[in-house]
Amino acid sequence: MGGYGDVQLLREDGLRLDGRKLDEMRPMTIEAGVLPAADGSAMVTHGLNVAVAAVYGPMEAHPRKIQRQDRAVIDVRYNMAPFSTSDRIRPGFNRRSREISKVTAEALESVVLCERYPRSKIRVEIEILAAEAGTRCAGLTAAAVALADAGIPMRDLIVGVASGKVEGIVVLDLDKAEDNYGQADLPVGILPNTGEIAFLQMDGDLSPDEYNLAMEYNFKAAAEIHEIMVDALKRRYEGGEN
């Protein structure tokens, strides 16, 4: 977290700079089945973020050394397009994207019924086309919808959602300015039906109480996002506009 500078992030009326309430999230749309070449896919727009996920597989896991005898492995690549950020990003993986790919894969492996596909691999490609804080959550949500779109059996979806702290106040879903000048960020991946957590990161400074409030916001928002996810999958499968 940046946590420095004189930027004011909360208005005198208690709302945030863009008019949101403390526990209000940015607008979100989800569309499933957006990529013809993929076995499953989804696009999530969240605020100004654009995240696309494609799923391929299950397929033979190679190289051999990544195979698991008793289950499928999920191979995630989270990647930010060079033009997705204010300063261009050089193509190719960096340490941040490798870490996010790892923990995202582990979160997805927690809900996919991997045991059904021993020795195989499921490829999940997450591409961030435009980034405005919160891309790892948007990517995780897109990946979950894309897996469902691909017909991969899962014991629950995962909802990616984050809360944080600005000017000492806990708020839901940091936007870009709040992320740059905020004091903490708590992105999680929530299983909407069981209420379990499959993804957890946090950095910054949070007291135990602040942590509890941020988590409360996250769970509340997860229920909202879950509806949007289910809606996207319904539109895809029950005929509909797509």
């Binding site: 100004l48 654009v50 494609a54 300063d87 261009r88």
Partner: protein, 261 residues
């Protein structure tokens, strides 16, 4: 990647070719429907999305301040790269840029660069000290065949709508990038023994060599590339060269219409 030659597909394509037919019912020189959208990505200074059948491609333009090359102190620079990332198709694997992806980027780059549509001297801010570097990145999201043409189209459309972010870099006011001309690429693949325009994914899988032609506003050649195994005759080239002129004029209009919106 084990590439079993799809023998049955080749046979089917040959059979169709005898009757001058294509798998998806198109004529030999007929392209798929193309939709073009610009200014579609936050953070990119110019952006475009092209949908061409099952092919989906995004291009984004970014600017940076650079010191000019010592031997060209009054010139900025242009760079165009394409990434064939694994998102786009089951057949693409992760790893360093493949020869296919390098070829794709370089062919698109040459078409734009050699058309002279960007005046490198117009990118100079302070000679010998500060110039603009323009970077076009192309991202293929879904490879449904003929990504070369889709990438070329997305690149020039993104470029033509780009705004130079001078304010952000503290060197004046933002302004629209000046782009003279609209170079367009037309690609042909040999399928069932004869060339077709705008090959689909199946036609590429069961086809042979391909030829990429980039033409400028005046109909001059700016880039040629033959890819994959196979040969062609000068007569064959003459025929597709003629077709390329027609198709490029159509797509150039599409770009102009989009800008008019």
């Amino acid at each position: 990647m084990v590439e079993l030659v799809p023998t049955l597909l080749r046979q089917e394509l040959s059979r169709l070719a005898e009757d001058d037919l294509r798998l998806d019912g198109r004529g030999q020189w007929e392209g798929r429907e193309v939709t073009l959208e610009t200014d579609c990505l936050y953070n990119a200074e110019g952006s475009a999305k092209v949908v061409m059948g099952d092919t989906i491609v995004y291009a984004g333009v970014k600017f940076e301040l650079r010191t000019p090359w010592p031997d060209r102190p009054a010139q900025g620079s242009l760079m165009c790269g394409a990434e064939l990332r694994p998102v786009a198709h089951r057949k693409y694997e992760p790893g360093p840029p493949s020869p296919q992806s390098i070829e794709l980027g370089r062919v698109v780059d040459r078409g734009i660069r050699e058309s002279g549509c960007i005046d490198m001297e117009s990118l100079c801010i302070v000679p010998g000290e500060k110039v603009w570097g323009v970077m076009i990145d192309i991202h293929v999201l879904s490879d449904g065949g003929n990504i070369f043409d889709a990438c070329g189209l997305a690149a020039i459309a993104a470029l033509r709508t780009a705004v130079v972010p001078a304010e952000r870099f503290d060197v004046g006011e933002d302004y629209t990038l000046k782009v003279k001309g609209t170079p367009i690429m037309a690609s042909f693949t040999r399928v069932g023994g004869r060339y077709v325009y705008d090959p689909s994914e199946e036609e590429e899988l069961g086809g042979d060599e391909r030829i990429h032609i980039t033409l400028g506003d005046e109909g001059h050649l700016h880039s040629l590339q033959k890819g994959l195994r196979g040969v062609f005759t000068p007569a064959e080239f003459a025929e597709i060269f003629g077709v390329a002129h027609l198709r490029c004029v159509e797509l150039r209009k599409l770009v102009a219409n989009q800008e008019g919106n």
